[in-house]
């Protein structure tokens, strides 16, 4: 005991205990900030919870003047745009990752990856700007006519098209999440042990069969992880979606119709919220978004962490 006290005093006098105290304080500060975030979101949305309960999530009317707040149009909009972005970005992104990890020479692969990762650095509002002035005209003249000609008979691709729509927002999101899918999937594929490939090739499999039957199944978990990471980002993405989704609270089946997303309605209406209930309803939407992204992110990290650890063990 006396020895421990003496050791402690020595550390205290030499300044070590002070340093420990300071850095531990920083660690605690991080915990406090996060706890405060959850607390503020929760306590500043209680009016909406008291009034609507779980019905908040299923109500389809959003009418601030009448004091009626239902989140369904935004939840549907967020889900649909994210789904569209995944449908486009997953095949393209995983395909590109396979090329970068399996086929391309190391130098080409590194250079292309560098470029693709730069895409992730482009600010969201710049994507929105390009969406409004470049993508919307392209959607009108190039994408919509053939889609309507082939799939126009389904409710998904019917009705008038103004350029701003759920579909347009999905396409912008797809471009924004591609870098994540490519970069994480590539890392996971590179981590697949060479022996796996050699074994398959030695059995007479072609390059493609090796990739498709051996490498991809081995890397499956990590690739799912990259997709979840991308999904979490797509769900919370605000500016680019706000600028091209059309901002309409009407629920429509058609992807050509304008819609709304959770993040977009917060961005648009937050400064206009005049009464407390309105503000609380918007913060409640933020809470919903927070909960969903936390869950998806958690799943993603579990999957990615699992693969790297396993491939480390094998290598």
């Amino acid at each position: 005991m006396a020895a421990r006290v003496q050791a402690f005093t020595r550390r205290l006098l030499s300044g070590d205990e002070v340093t420990r105290f300071i850095v531990t304080l920083a660690g605690l500060a991080i915990l406090t900030v996060t706890a405060a975030l959850v607390f503020e979101l929760w306590s500043n949305s209680n009016l909406a919870r008291e009034k609507f309960g779980w019905g908040f999530l299923t109500g389809s009317t959003w009418d601030p003047n009448a004091g009626e707040f239902g989140a369904l149009p935004f939840i549907v909009g967020t889900a649909t745009t994210s789904l569209i972005s995944l449908v486009i970005a997953v095949p393209a992104g995983v395909g590109a990752a396979i090329f970068l990890a399996e086929l391309a020479p190391r130098r080409v692969s590194d250079a292309l990856t560098f470029c693709i990762e730069l895409l992730a650095a482009v600010p969201s509002v710049v994507y929105g700007l390009l969406g409004v002035f470049v993508l919307v005209p392209i959607m009108k003249s190039v994408v919509e006519p053939p889609l309507r000609a082939v799939l126009g008979w389904t409710p998904l691709f019917s009705g008038p098209f103004y350029g701003v729509s759920v579909l347009t927002a999905g396409v912008v999101l797809a471009v924004m999440i591609l870098p994540f899918i490519v970069s994480v999937s590539r890392q996971v594929l590179i981590a697949v042990p060479v022996e796996q490939r050699e074994a398959a090739l030695a059995l007479g499999a072609t390059r493609w069969e090796t990739t498709w039957r051996v490498v991809l199944p081995f890397a499956k978990r990590g690739i799912y992880g990259s997709i979840f990471l991308a999904l979490a980002r797509a769900l919370g993405e605000t500016m680019a979606v706000t600028m091209v989704i059309g901002n309409s609270t009407q629920l429509k089946a058609s992807l050509f119709a304008p819609g709304y997303s959770i993040a977009a309605v917060i961005a648009n209406e937050f400064t206009e919220a005049t009464d407390d209930l309105y503000l609380h309803a918007l913060i409640q939407l933020g809470l919903v978004l927070f909960a969903v992204t936390i869950i998806i992110n958690g799943l993603a990290r579990l999957l990615v962490a699992g693969t790297t650890r396993r491939s480390d063990a094998v290598a």
Binding site: I30, L31, A36, P91, G128
Partner: protein, 269 residues
């Protein structure tokens, strides 16, 4: 089939080239000296610039660094050098959680924490919002680069009789300095383009704002407001602002990635 994967890669790379090319052509041609030196012109008048938004962005980012980097750096030192296994697990887990929070939700937090109490928008609130966003990545990059410092260095210094804090301050942190600084630069580049958390914290301003206690214009918010406005001349200025912002962000990214590649300690990202 394998060839098709090459097409995917080429396609994605060409999207980047297209975006860059389009922004350079459209943005650079809209850029003029007045963009950097003048205030926004009144609605309906041509010309004007975004001098106040450039200064405002700098101010907000400066506050973000002051708020986020010290907590992030010290938190990283805690994780790498001092934390008990349980403490490390909890802090690391919560940091990851914070990193996954959508930026608009951080904006709501800063709003209810500061704007609701102060009853007005301010550069300070915007700085706090962006600062919170900087914490997680500062923590993780600091931790990774500190861990990449060889243990031999620590042991050599400890063997000379230096207390742990002196070993950290004079040996370990300087050895990891390049990595930590580039990590912060990358981090800054990420939040420099953030718009959503500023919409209802720093808000915007068509004039100069003095101090940090007033609504303050920033480049990303100006791009947003100008892009959705009905005026042709504002669209032109939005392109110019987007060009300036993108060059800034990509410049910081490229510099820090090149430095990281050359650094003897490659702690990864």
């Amino acid at each position: 089939m394998l060839g098709a994967t090459g097409i995917c890669a080429a396609g994605i790379a060409s999207v980047l080239l297209f975006i860059l090319g389009y922004l350079v052509i459209n943005g650079a041609s809209s850029l003029s000296l007045s963009f950097f030196t003048q205030l926004p012109a009144p609605v309906g008048e041509l010309g004007g610039g975004m001098a106040n938004a450039i200064v405002g962005s700098g101010k907000i980012l400066g506050l973000a660094v002051l708020f986020g980097v010290p907590i992030g750096f010290l938190g990283g030192v805690y994780l790498a050098e001092y934390a008990s296994p349980v403490g490390a697990f909890v802090v690391r887990y919560v940091t990851d959680l914070l990193n996954g929070v959508p930026s608009i939700v951080i904006g709501i937090f800063a709003y209810s924490l500061i704007v609701l109490n102060a009853k007005h928008f301010s550069a300070f609130a915007g700085g706090v919002a962006l600062g919170i966003m900087m914490i997680p990545i500062s923590v993780r990059s600091t931790e990774e680069f500190l861990r990449a410092v060889p243990n031999g260095l620590r042991e050599a210094a400890l063997a000379l009789g230096a207390p742990k804090w002196r070993v950290l301050a004079t040996v370990v942190v300087p050895a990891a300095r390049d990595g930590i600084v580039t990590g912060i630069l990358l981090n800054l580049a990420r939040v420099a383009g953030e718009t959503a958390p500023l919409l209802f914290t720093a808000f915007s301003n068509r004039y100069w704002s003095s101090g940090i206690d007033q609504p303050t214009a920033s480049l990303p918010v100006m791009i947003y407001t100008y892009a959705i406005s009905p005026y042709e001349d504002w669209h032109r200025q939005a392109w110019a602002a987007a060009f300036v912002l993108l060059m800034l962000v990509l410049g910081m990214n490229i510099i820090s990635k090149v430095v990281l590649m050359r650094s003897p300690l490659r702690g990864g990202r």
